[in-house]
């Protein structure tokens, strides 16, 4: 029963993250939303670890945290560069990739 609560919490966090990624215009907010999604996944992994009684999920969670840190570092650097070039970090205006 306890594990189900963890999973529900993770699902809520994931949905919030997805909303943030899709709806926010600010690049920093999008990055933060991605962090929410990642954390929801990490929470899921730990919950499954608890359910199965093995340490695998926890190890995965640690990896995800480490990679998330690196990912945020890269993402913030890109945002910084975009800001320096354009003086804005609004994602609506970044549409050079339009096909």
């Amino acid at each position: 029963m306890l594990a189900v609560n963890f999973l529900l919490l993770a699902a809520v966090l994931f949905c919030i993250g997805v909303y943030g990624v899709i709806a926010r215009r600010n690049a920093v907010m999008v990055l933060m939303s991605i962090e929410l999604i990642l954390n929801a996944v990490s929470l899921n992994l730990v919950a499954f670890s608890l359910m199965t009684g093995t340490a695998d999920g926890q190890v995965f969670a640690l990896y995800v945290i480490a990679i998330a840190a690196a990912e945020v570092g890269v993402g913030l650097a890109m945002v910084l560069m975009i800001y320096r070039n354009r003086r804005t970090i609004a994602l609506d205006e970044l549409s050079e990739m339009k096909g």
Binding site: V18, V21, I22, L91, L94, S95, E96, K98, G99
Partner: protein, 844 residues
């Protein structure tokens, strides 16, 4: 059924590899052609080496053939026949005194095979082939040694040696032929190379005309060869397949078919006629002999080789090789007056008469060759096979020697002239070796005892008479007297009397090509006037009278050290040695088959009869092993004995019915390869008669020469101008019976020109129209294909696929908005859909 006892016959490496004699000169030809000019002797050494190698193989094969024949004799009294021919073993059968058949040793490489019809190339050697192989290689080698000095400094020295090597190779290939296809190959190689050699100095128009004339005249005969081969093939093929598992091109099968008694007489007759036309063209028989004297335009070594052992002998060899076809086709066995004998007899007389009016020493010899070839054909046409072959053998030596002597005289004695009346005379003291060799060869040619020609020519005459052709025998005897006369005339004009022209040392300082007064060769024998004026007219008259009127040698005569002396002198060693060797054989070659001595010393002295003449013995046919294309088949022995065949009757018995091969059909299951030719018994009276005829000829001719040329007897000089009948006869001969006029003005005009016109019309209106029509049609088809298939279907498919891809891209374009949030929404939407699908699949 026929208890066959198989015995072994000896063979040997040389016999099985006799094909090397033909292959080596062909390789030598290629080497000379490609590398000759870089070699120290400019290619001559390759020619000499290849011919020497061929000679070694041929002589080795000859020795082994004699061992093979002896091995058959030694097996038993009831001699054992043996045959291993054309890829199948045929044990032979004999009885009583008839001798065993010695099978040819066949080495064949089958290069083409289709539905049982095989074409092989290789060697099928029996006594006849080996005799001619060794003869050709020997004569060609000596002629090449002669040429090294004779054509030195010629501008086409290397090409000369290349062509003469291939020429000898062509003859060797033809002689060893196992089937008609290979025979035609060798025959045509000779035709081509003789054209190259006769026209060696083609800058002179007369020479290239002579080469063309030789080529086209022989070509007329070649049509006969092709037609005859085709006729024989269609006649013999089915029989050969049924009885021998062979085919109608195989020479041994043709021989057996002709003697089988099952051959269609029409095929035999017309096949024999067509093949004999080929022999007429090649061997210079009447009426196609006109090319031979003109062929003297070539260098003397070429004349020598062409007239002694190759080319002209090819026609005689063809007849001797497939003799059963002629034997049956012309009924020679039953004493029929054959086409061959008539042509041979006519040729003997007309050529001998023509030799009297020639001033060119080489043309005298050329007509002499034609006449001697007539003897060979007469012999073959009357059943005297062995004497005819023997005459090929002896004639090669003395005729080659005579030509080389003529070459020697012109080289060193008469300053490259061949005109006996203008530039020769009195040379016997200046050129003693040449003179001696010439005399020996002349005595051999005229048939004086004991020189070579006596044994062979008298054999022919004797056998012609013994076979019942009395009239032809007298014709041949008359020819012998004529031979003695014209050779005396030539000898007298060349070596006796007063030196004239170049022989007297005149003209040696003249530059060649200087304008000389043209001396018209008009009617009449030599008058004092023309003799006196001869010196200045050396280069006048016929272009072919002078051997080397131009070119490297003629123009740079001073390069030849021997010409510094000015006057006539003896030739160098390279020229004399071959002449002396040939003169030696001109004396002794006759002892290869001295039939008149057989009664005293036994039959053992008749070497050619024992080793060369195929035995007229029926042979049992048996199973054989088939060979496929590309296989090398070496067939050697296979001997058997079957006591069921009647022996051949000995000839000479008047009225006795002859039986055996060539007269009766061989028993079922057996075949014959050679008819039972008869051999005349020589008698002392006959020999004396022919010697007396020759002696009378000599006496008449010597008396005439002394009176006419020596003393200028007023009763004789100018006789042809005073007496109308004689004048007419002389003109008739001088113009060579008007045959050249007939050919050039009548036949060529009447036949060739309309044919040419018709051919041109056909070319323009039929062939060109067809070609143009095909071209136009093809173009239209091309345009249609371009419009309809290429443009519409192929291009449509290509463009359509491009268009489809482009449209699909445009349809998807809106999704690529470039907005990150939209991409995220798509990503998560897709993930959601994927998750739902996953859940549904797993749950259900």
């Amino acid at each position: 059924m026929l208890g066959a006892e198989v015995l072994e016959l000896s063979s040997g490496w040389f016999l099985e590899n006799a094909w090397l004699t033909g292959l080596i000169p062909v390789i030598g030809f290629a080497i000379i052609l490609f590398f000759g000019k870089k070699l120290p002797m400019k290619g001559a050494e390759v020619g000499l080496a290849s011919m020497a190698a061929s000679l070694v193989v041929a002589v080795g094969a000859g020795v082994q053939w004699m061992q093979r024949t002896n091995s058959a004799e030694s097996h038993s009294e009831e001699a054992v026949g043996l045959i291993q021919a054309f890829g199948r073993s045929l044990p032979s059968a004999t009885e009583g005194e008839s001798k065993s058949f010695i099978s040819p040793v066949t080495t064949t490489w089958v290069w083409w095979q289709n539905s049982g019809l095989e074409f092989g190339i290789g060697s099928a050697v029996d006594g006849l082939a080996i005799l001619i192989l060794a003869l050709v290689a020997f004569i060609a080698l000596l002629v090449m040694v002669f040429s090294v000095d004779y054509v030195r400094d010629d501008r086409r020295y290397t090409h000369f040696f290349a062509a003469i090597t291939l020429f000898a190779g062509g003859m060797l290939i033809m002689v060893m032929a196992e089937n008609m296809v290979q025979l035609i190959l060798g025959w045509e190689i000779m035709g081509l190379t003789s054209f190259m050699l006769i026209g060696h100095w083609w800058e002179e128009e007369a020479n290239s005309r002579a080469a063309l004339k030789a080529f086209f005249t022989v070509r007329v005969g070649d049509v006969g060869l092709l037609v005859g081969t085709a006729i024989i093939f269609f006649g013999a093929n089915q029989w050969a397949v049924d009885n021998l598992d062979s085919n109608g091109f195989n020479i041994a099968a043709i021989q057996a078919w002709a003697l089988s008694g099952e051959a269609n007489t029409q095929f035999l007759l017309w096949g024999a006629v067509a093949l004999f036309i080929a022999a007429i063209g090649k061997s210079g028989q009447f009426p196609l002999h006109t090319w031979l004297p003109d062929a003297m335009a070539g260098p003397t070594p070429v004349s020598s080789l062409l007239h002694s052992s190759t080319m002209v002998v090819a026609g005689v060899f063809l007849v001797a090789r497939i003799y059963p076809v002629f034997w049956e086709g012309f009924n020679i066995g039953t004493g029929g007056l054959s086409f061959i004998a008539i042509i041979g007899a006519i040729t003997i007389v007309i050529a001998a008469l023509l030799a009297f009016v020639q001033d060119d020493i080489k043309k005298v010899l050329a007509y002499s060759t034609v006449s001697q070839l007539g003897y060979m054909m007469l012999g073959l046409g009357t059943g005297a096979w062995l004497p005819a072959v023997f005459h090929i053998f002896t004639h090669a030596f003395f005729k080659c020697a005579l030509f080389l002597c003529a070459g020697s005289v012109s080289h060193s004695g008469s300053h490259h002239s061949f005109d006996m009346k203008k530039d020769m005379g009195g040379l016997r003291k200046k050129m003693p070796v040449t003179f001696a060799a010439w005399c020996v060869s002349t005595l051999a040619l005229t048939g004086v005892f004991p020189f070579a020609g006596f044994w062979s020519k008298d054999e022919i005459i004797d056998n012609v008479g013994a076979n019942g052709y009395t009239f032809l025998m007298w014709v041949a005897l008359g020819g012998a007297a004529l031979t003695a006369m014209y050779m005396t005339r030539a000898t007298y004009l060349t070596f006796f009397g007063e030196p004239r022209g170049a022989a007297a040392g005149l003209g040696h300082d003249d530059a060649h090509g200087e304008e000389h007064e043209m001396e018209l060769i008009s009617v009449g024998a030599p008058e004092p006037r023309s003799l006196g004026a001869a010196a200045n007219a050396r280069n006048g008259g016929e272009g072919s009278a002078s051997d080397e009127p131009h070119g490297g040698h003629g123009g740079s005569a001073a390069d030849d050290g021997s010409d510094h002396h000015g006057g006539p002198h003896e030739s160098g060693k390279l020229i004399l040695v071959p002449i002396v060797i040939l003169a030696f054989f001109a004396i002794f070659a006759g002892f290869a088959n001295p039939t008149p001595l057989a009664s005293r010393f036994g039959e053992g002295v008749e070497l050619l009869k024992k080793y060369v003449e195929p035995r007229a013995t029926a042979v049992v046919t048996e199973e054989f092993l088939a060979s496929g294309p590309g296989e090398l088949v070496v067939l050697v022995d296979g001997v058997a004995y079957a006591p069921s065949v009647t022996p051949t009757a000995e000839a000479g018995e008047e009225g006795a019915k002859k039986s055996g091969c060539g007269f009766d059909a061989p028993e079922a299951g057996t075949v014959c390869f050679f008819p039972g030719v008869s051999h005349a018994e020589p008698t002392f009276a006959k020999i004396l008669l022919s010697l007396a005829v020759v002696a009378i000829g000599y006496a008449l001719a010597i008396g005439f020469c002394v009176l006419f040329y020596g003393r200028r007897d007023s009763r004789l000089v100018g006789l042809t101008e005073r007496n109308k009948a004689l004048r007419g006869g002389f003109l008739f001969l001088k113009n060579k019976y008007y045959l050249d006029h007939l050919y050039e003005n009548v036949i060529v005009r009447a036949v060739a020109h309309p044919i040419a016109k018709f051919a041109y019309w056909v070319n323009q209106h039929v062939l060109d129209a067809t070609v143009n029509g095909v071209g136009v049609g093809t173009r239209k088809a091309g345009v249609w294909v371009y419009d309809n298939i290429d443009q519409k279907i192929v291009d449509g498919a290509v463009n359509g696929s491009g268009w489809a891809a482009s449209e699909a891209g445009h349809a998807m374009q809106p999704t690529q908005s470039g907005k990150v949030s939209q991409y995220g929404a798509l990503l998560f939407g897709a993930a959601t859909v994927g998750a739902i699908v996953l859940v549904l699949v797993n749950v259900s």
